[in-house]
Amino acid sequence: MHEWALAEGIVSTAKKVAEEQGLTEVTEVKVMIGELQQVEHEIIEFALEQLRTPGMEKTKFVLEAAPAKFRCRKCSTEWGFKTEGLTDEVSEAIHFVPEMAHVYIKCPSCGSPDFEVVEGRGVWVAHIRGVRKDA
C-alpha cells in the first residue's frame, strides 16, 4: 500500500475512534504493518507528522512490522516472503496491491499459485490510547 494513503487511513481511523470513545486527546496509536506491504516506515512517519490534526498534536505513532508467511493450499508447504530475485516492477506491484503476490510468487515445492497469506498481509490499527473528556 502507498505510504501516504496508509498514513491518511491511520489518522482517519484514530480520529474516528477518538470520536466514538470521547477522547479529547490521542496519546498513542499502534499500527501493525504486514511485511508484504513493503512500506517504508520512515515515509509513513514523515506523512503522519504532516497529517496531525487537533487532538493528535502529541500522538506517539508506534509502527510494528509483521513478517509475511505463506501456506500452499495444494501441498501445505509454508514459506516466508523474500524480496531477492523480484524485479523492481514486481516488488512495486506487490507494494501497491499485495494480492499481486499471487501473480508473481509460486509455492517453492509444487509451483502452485494457489496459496494463502497466513500472516503479514495487511495493515491494522492494533490499539488507540487517549485521554477521555470526563477523565
Binding site: M1, A5, G9, V31, V97, E99, P113, W124
Partner: protein, 242 residues
C-alpha cells in the same frame, strides 16, 4: 483491530459527481464494451470522466482501449494516467497482464487496496466495469462506495436474464439506485427482456443491436466510436446522464 484503508475509501470519491457501475449477473454480455464506449462518449461531450476496471481476474477494458505502456503516477497515492481523455485505472498496471488467480477474500482485499490508493480528483463521471455476478466486488462496492448507481447489462437470452434478475433483486434489497437495464447484442425484437424488466418495476433503457463491426474496432477507440454500436451508446448516455 481496525483496517485503516476503509476510512479513506469513501473520501477518495468525494470529488466525483456521478459514479456508475456497469454490471450484470452474467459474464459475456458485453459489460466491458458498454462501459468503455459509455465512458468515451461521456468524455466526448466534454465531461471529466474516469474508467475503472474492477474485473481483476478477467480485465479487458485495456484491450478495448488498446492501452499499452501506461503506468500511474505516484503522488500521495496513485494518480490514474489519462488515455483517450479518460482517467484510466486497471489492475493490469500491476499484473503485467499475467493471470491473476485470486480467491474471494483476496479479490476483496485487492479491491479495497486499489480504491484506497487511487486519487481520482475531480470527475463528472466515474464508470466502473464490474466483474460478473453478485460476488465480492459487487458486495464491496455496495458496502464502500456512497452514491453509486448501477447500469445493468443483459443480452436477449433468457439464461442471461435469469442471472441478471438476481442482481436486480439484490440491488433492490440493498436500496441501491438502478439507472436501468440495457439489452445488448439484440438481433431481433422479442420484447421478452422489456416485459421482464418492467414486470420487476425497473427501467428498460432499450436495446443495442448486435454490431459485427465491433470486433474490428477492438483496440482502436476512434474506430469504435464510429460504429453503429457507439451511436446507440450515445442515446443510452443521454438517458443515464439525465
Amino acid at each position: 483491530m481496525r483496517d485503516p484503508r476503509l476510512e479513506i475509501v469513501a473520501e477518495r470519491f468525494t470529488g466525483i459527481r456521478r459514479i456508475i457501475a456497469v454490471s450484470s449477473g452474467k459474464g459475456g454480455v458485453g459489460k466491458s464494451i458498454v462501459a468503455t464506449t459509455l465512458a468515451l462518449t461521456l468524455a466526448k461531450t466534454g465531461g471529466r470522466v474516469g474508467l475503472l476496471d474492477l474485473d481483476f481476474t478477467s480485465p479487458s477494458t485495456h484491450v478495448i482501449l488498446g492501452v499499452e505502456g501506461l503506468y500511474p503516477e505516484e503522488e500521495k497515492g496513485i494518480v490514474p494516467p489519462i488515455t483517450h481523455d479518460l482517467s484510466y485505472m486497471s489492475i493490469v498496471y500491476y499484473s503485467a497482464d499475467e493471470p491473476v488467480p485470486l480467491r474471494g477474500a483476496d479479490v476483496s482485499n485487492a479491491l479495497v487496496e486499489l480504491l484506497a490508493i487511487t486519487r481520482w480528483g475531480e470527475l463528472d463521471y466515474l464508470i466502473i466495469d464490474m466483474p460478473p455476478g453478485i460476488g465480492d466486488a459487487t458486495l464491496d462496492l455496495l458496502r464502500l462506495i456512497p452514491r453509486i448507481s448501477f447500469l445493468v447489462v443483459t443480452t436477449p437470452s433468457r439464461v442471461a436474464f435469469e442471472s441478471v434478475r438476481k442482481l436486480l433483486l439484490l440491488l433492490r434489497e440493498t436500496s441501491t439506485p438502478v439507472l436501468g437495464v440495457v439489452e445488448n447484442m439484440a438481433t431481433k425484437s422479442l420484447g421478452y427482456i422489456r416485459d421482464k424488466v418492467e414486470g420487476l418495476h425497473f427501467r428498460y433503457l432499450g436495446s443495442l443491436a448486435f454490431d459485427p463491426e465491433i470486433e474490428d474496432a477492438i483496440g482502436d477507440p476512434a474506430k469504435l466510436m464510429a460504429t453503429n454500436f457507439a451511436k446507440e451508446i450515445k442515446g443510452l448516455s443521454k438517458k443515464v446522464s439525465a
